[in-house]
Each structure stands twice: as structure tokens, then as C-alpha cells.
Symmetry: C2
């Protein structure tokens, strides 16, 4: 058991109030939240929070972790050139070992940003699972089925297998996007959703061009198309969700589909700004993702939270738009629910001990005026003092506890990057 | 003398090439830049950079440091309410002691973000100077004269006095803005600029409303008005510079006026996006500021650099717009030149030793593909390993060396904040 005491608890149970000062964990779970209580059990470690904030970890609800190898290799170029000349030809050279190497670099960065789970879409999932289990990181993988897959039924086998592989690992039904997946294959995904009564996730409405081309092809927006295929019968999510019509948003609302937005990536690739305020007004579920490091390039939920809010202020021409505290909910509770991690959303007894400590003794949190606004508008990786997943401390005071030396992880990733670039 | 070795030097001398691996300082100056050389003098300290990047510190070219007391106290509200209900009434209660207390919090945050000098506009400059000298921080103050000053000629006395007070302190002629300063008073500033042959700085063209009202009042844009008053005969700068016409930009170009842009503040207050690409094309001098912590709320040049670039990609609908490396130049060399700190712009022999160490052993810099793009697109405070000003190390490995305990600085700032809020 581990005891955290003398802190400020941001439980996220009912919004963003700060209450209580003590949390106990046992194994992978939170077993007590509240004020000092006696008698106390014997703890293997007691951590004096010294006024720091203990809160649920951030949930990175859309990413492509292994793309760290492309970080800062293809910046400042047009989208098509980026995709067809930089990204695709290099991804063709990927191996399982390379994905394993690159994913570990991403996991380290998640830990520095207080991210305790991610929702990942990529290839070589066995290698990716190995990297996560070795580090102790929590991941939910998303099916990325498309027309290039030799056998679409692999999706069902992956769904069944990966959901049973390890407590830290999950898998959700998904496909890459309507523009890379045939109607037949999307109908097959819908049939699986029906069979298992589960949600479906896909890239949707990321760019104007994509939505225009969908309308030309099908006479429907991407969302209308997915709805017509009955893909969202058990909910799900649309990654990006930038170009949504009123009718699209009504479908999201009616079906309980989450809009999983990626402001950093959408800015850097000049895609646009998702209509977050409109979706908030319609009570649509919202979550935040970094997208992959090739297009962001950081994997930093502080930057994403900040962007979600200020881009709404800009696009609505209203400095009061998009309350920062709503954004904090998106990044924690919203993300957990979008990914189906209902045991990882809040600090409550019985929940998974996926928690972070925010250092209030750093100048960007001083003076202490309004902690939750401060987290969103001036918080940074510099404030992440500790990251715990399933009751295990994986990151503390700048050091990593992920089963091997970080310099070995870096060396492996650099070697594989060189091999792919030169090979 | 201090020796840095075994690093990567980003000198910023001719753009952003990485060359050499060794820098020596003596007193406040850089005395050697290049490869290993013998014989070596005796050093008081030798720092193994272990592959990390040594580069000039960032220059925060527009801020209001003491506004830390308002950080996170007035977020998510309309601009007018923010200014008239939250900011102005509280600023009226400020004292010199309070400004001293609040400025030190800002200085600590600058150090965590690798900022080695700022260009500050506020009140109680004697108290501000004291805070900077005690910490060892470099500051250039900007005159903030306006109609509320009892005696406009104080500007000249401040200009003369503060430029002689200490090697770390500078002062430039300036006034708050055309909308708070009468024609008479602006003409007086122009006469001082003429007398001393020096540049003039002011807030200009921050919001659409401000520029429209100026046109109504004077039949001219703010820039045209300032030009007609001959204020820019020796150059200067416009803080914000969001709403500039082609003709305004031509005046900037012709007069050597710097556009000192503040993307974070302009987003949060829903003001807009400065036309950075257009100004780059016209070869206008560009620099970056955080603006004050009431409107940003962080004092973080990594966030500002990132925003400068990605907001251009968004507003130009072109992912190749605004090369990240140009932004790195704005944040270092551009800022130094805008503020008149010509001895603090690059890593070269004879320049001031205002330098930072960027930690490459953090996951957001891995794998090592393209260091300068990486700094702009995924760099963060987490990468600042050391900040040196005038040859003194003020921040290293998360710890501050500013003459007093940071907890004492925090306690004083919190006490003054409570006094102002409750008083």
C-alpha cells in the first residue's frame, strides 16, 4: 500500500473542486480518498504531497505512438507532400522491432506529461503491447482496418485476443477512415459492433477536402455515411471531428459518439479548428488527443488542453468561450469515458490508481490563485512530479521506472530511425 | 571562468546550424566558442554537456512581469470585463513592495523557460529593478507614459537614470498606447527620441476595435498616426501588431520598426493572429513576447514559439507556412535586436554569456532527428537544464540560484496577493 498525504485532491468526481488531502492505494487500486483517518494500515511508502495536487492522470484519446521516429523529420511542408513523400514511404519500412523501439519513446513522453493511458491506432500491435506491458503503461488500441489489409476478419480476432491479453491492455473496434475503407468493409465493422454490442471509432471529418470528397462519393457527410451504415449503434468516436455540420453533431449527440479532438495536429497541418463550443452546447461527449508525433510534434496534454480552450476563444471571437475547467474534464474524465476506461476516470475508492502529482512549488503555479484554471492556462510538463499507473510509480522527479534505462530506449530508437532513413 | 564542453552549439550566428562543442566564459562574457583547444586556462567549473545543446537564451520581448498576481484570477471572461472589473481595480492597489514581490515570481518562471532577458512595461520601476538585480536577471524596461501620469517629463528622467543604474538594466523610450496618450504627449515622446536619437516602443494594433477607433479619431491607422508624429525616426517597436495594413507594414519596414508579437495573449483574449508571414516576406524585424501573466497565463517562450508558427499555418491554410527555424531566430536574435541587447543575441566571443542548456536526454527530443525544428515544435520547459545570465548560473536541474529561497519568494507573493484581493 502507498499513502499520499498533505496534498490537495482534485478528484474530478463532481467537476473540478479541490477536496480532501489523502489517498491510499493497494495493488492497482485506490482504496481510500479523504481526510486523515486512523487507524492506518502499514504502508510500503508514505508520500508527503507538501500541498501539491493529486489528480487523475490525463487520457490521450488519440495518438499513433510509434510515429516518434518521424518527429521533426517532416515539418513545415504541405500536407500532401508530408503524407506521400515523408510519412508513407518510411512507414513501409517499419518492422515489429522498430514499432516496439519507437513506442517506448512515446511512453516516456506520456509519463512526463502526466498521461496515464492512451488510445492508439497503428500497426504491429503485438510489438506495441509488449512495449506497454514492459513499461507498465496502460493502452487501449483501436482497430485501424482499411482496404490495404489482406484479411479484414483479422479485426475480430484482434478484438477478441487483445481484450484478454493483460489488465493494462484494451482494444476497441475501429477502422482507419471512410476514405480508405470500402463500404463492404465498413459494413463488416458494423456487423461486428452489432455482434459484440460495442462502440466503433474512426478518423472522421479531419479536413475540408476529406468531407467534400465524401459528399461527392456518397452524397453524404462522413458522419451521415457512418450513421447510414449503422456503425454507431453502440456509440464510439470520431477522431478529429473538425468539419461537422449541425446534422452531424446531432448524430453524435443522439448516438453518444465522442468527438475526440486534436488541436495541435489540426493547427500544424493547417486543417482547422473543431467546433468545441457548439458540441459542448449540444452535450456531446468530448475528449482530447495529441495525434501522432509526426504531426504534432509533442505528446503533451498541457499544450493540447491550452489549445482546446484558446482556439475556441479565437474562433468564436469571445474571450469567455470554452471554460478552462471544462477542458480539464475533457482531458481526464472525458478521455477515460471515450476510451471505455471507466475505472480510470476519477479519484474514488475502487477505481484504478492512475494518478499524477502536480508540483505547486514551481513558479508557473504561483501565486496560488485558482488551481484548475492555472493547470489549463499555464500548466506544463515542468509541473508533473509523479505519474502512477495501476498503483505503480513509473515517473517521479524527472526519473523513469519503466524496467530499463532510458538511454537504452533512446539508443534503440535512434538506431532503428537511422536504419529506416538510410535503408 | 566556466567551461562547457562535449555539447552541441547552436550559436545563432548564421541561422540555426549546429557547430562546435565547447564554450568558455569569463566574468559576464563569452571568451571562446569552438572545438577543444589547448592549452586550457584554469576553470572554476567544467560542465560536461553530454550532447546537450548550448544556445543563446530566449528574449521575452514584451511582458508585464508583476502581473503574476492576477494569473488565473480572471480567466474565461470577456475582454472589457477582464480589464475594467478584474485588472484595473486591482492594479490600483499595487505598491512598490507588491511589484517587487510579484516580479520575482515572474523572474523564476522566465528562468525555467530559458528566458535570459525581458522587455517589461509596468509601474514602480525602482522596485522592479531591485528584484532583477537581486536575482541577477537582465531586463530592459519600456516607458509606459500615458495621460494618467501626473508629469510626462518623468519619462526623460527615467530614461537617463535607469540606463545608468546597473549593467543588467536598460530602459527604452515608450508610451502605453495611442488610445491612452494625448497627441501632445506623443509629440513630447517624439521630441525625446529626436533629442537622444533612440527608438520608441508602444502597444499598437492589438485589437480590431482599437484600430477602428483610432481611424475614427484621427483618420489614420495607429501606425500611420505614429509615423505622422515622426515617432519612429530611430526605429522602435509595436507590441502586438495584429491588425496591420499593407501600408502599416511598409512603414514598419521603412523605419526599421520591430513587430513584437504575442500569440498566446492574442489568442486568450480573442484578439486575433498577427500577419507574421506577410511581415517576414517584407523583411520586417520580428520578435516574440509572452505579454503579462494575467492574459497568457504562462511566461513560456516554448509555447509562444510554437504558437507563432502553427497559427500562421492555420491562418494561411498552408502547413508549410512560417518555418520553425525562422521562429527560433525571432525568439533569440530577433528579440535581442528589438530590445537593443546587441551583446546578448548570439554565442560569439565577446558577447554576454546569456546562455541556456537544452536537455536532449528527455523523450520529447528523441530520436534526435532535427534539433532546431524539435525545439520549436516539441520543446518545453522540461528541456531547460541550465539558464545562465551574464556568466552566472541562475537555474540548473530544476533549482534556482537567485539569492534567496524560492519558498520565501512564493510566500511573499501569496501574502501580497491576499492583501490586494481582500484590501
Amino acid at each position: 500500500m502507498i499513502r499520499f498525504y498533505n496534498g490537495r485532491l482534485l478528484t474530478m468526481v463532481n467537476g473540478v473542486a479541490i477536496t480532501g488531502d489523502e489517498v491510499w492505494t493497494d495493488g492497482d487500486k485506490i482504496v481510500y480518498v479523504g481526510p486523515y483517518r486512523s487507524p492506518m494500515p502499514s504502508f510500503e511508502r508514505e508520500i508527503n504531497l507538501d500541498g501539491n495536487v493529486l489528480m487523475p492522470g490525463f487520457k490521450n484519446a488519440h495518438t499513433h505512438s510509434a510515429m516518434t521516429f518521424l518527429r521533426s523529420l517532416a515539418d513545415d511542408m504541405p500536407l500532401q507532400e508530408w503524407l506521400y513523400e515523408q510519412v508513407f514511404p518510411r512507414e513501409e519500412k517499419l518492422t515489429a522491432e522498430a514499432v516496439y523501439a519507437f513506442s517506448k519513446v512515446a511512453i516516456l513522453e506520456y509519463l512526463t506529461s502526466g498521461i496515464t493511458a492512451n488510445f492508439d491506432m497503428y500497426f504491429f500491435y503485438d510489438a506495441f503491447v509488449k512495449a506497454n506491458i514492459e513499461c507498465g503503461f496502460r493502452t487501449v488500441m483501436c482497430g485501424s482496418m482499411n482496404n490495404f489489409d489482406p484479411d479484414p476478419t483479422q479485426l475480430e480476432r484482434d478484438f477478441v485476443r487483445f481484450n484478454q491479453v493483460h489488465p493494462l491492455i484494451g482494444y476497441r473496434l475501429g477502422f482507419h477512415a471512410e476514405y480508405t475503407t470500402s463500404l463492404d468493409r465498413m459494413e463488416y465493422v458494423a456487423s461486428l459492433a452489432d455482434q459484440y454490442k460495442v462502440p466503433v471509432y474512426t478518423h472522421s471529418s479531419e479536413t475540408r477536402r476529406e468531407t467534400e470528397e465524401c459528399k461527392k462519393r456518397y452524397g453524404k457527410t462522413p458522419t451521415e455515411l457512418l450513421e447510414s451504415l449503422n456503425l454507431f449503434r453502440y456509440g464510439g468516436g470520431g477522431f478529429h471531428s473538425v468539419y461537422l455540420t449541425e446534422s452531424d453533431m446531432d448524430i453524435y449527440q443522439k448516438r453518444g459518439v465522442f468527438a475526440i479532438i486534436n488541436p495541435g495536429s489540426n493547427l500544424k497541418l493547417a486543417s482547422g479548428i473543431a467546433p468545441v463550443c457548439k458540441m459542448m452546447n449540444k452535450n456531446i461527449g468530448l475528449a482530447i488527443g495529441t495525434d501522432g508525433p509526426a504531426s504534432n510534434n509533442a505528446l503533451d496534454m498541457f499544450r493540447e488542453m491550452y489549445l482546446v480552450s484558446v482556439l475556441q476563444k479565437l474562433s468564436n471571437q469571445d474571450a469567455s468561450a470554452c471554460n478552462g475547467e471544462k477542458v480539464l474534464e475533457m482531458a481526464t474524465v472525458g478521455g477515460a469515458r471515450a476510451m471505455g476506461l471507466h475505472e480510470c476516470d476519477t479519484l474514488q475508492e475502487g477505481k484504478q490508481a492512475d494518478m499524477i502529482v502536480i508540483d505547486m512549488h514551481r513558479p508557473n503555479m504561483q501565486p496560488i490563485n485558482h488551481i484548475t484554471k492555472n493547470l489549463v492556462y499555464s500548466g506544463s510538463k515542468d509541473n508533473v512530479k509523479l505519474t502512477m499507473i495501476a498503483g505503480k510509480i513509473l515517473y517521479e522527479d524527472g526519473k523513469f521506472y519503466v524496467g530499463e534505462k532510458v538511454e537504452d530506449i533512446y539508443a534503440r530508437a535512434n538506431a532503428w530511425t537511422r536504419k529506416i532513413m538510410e535503408g
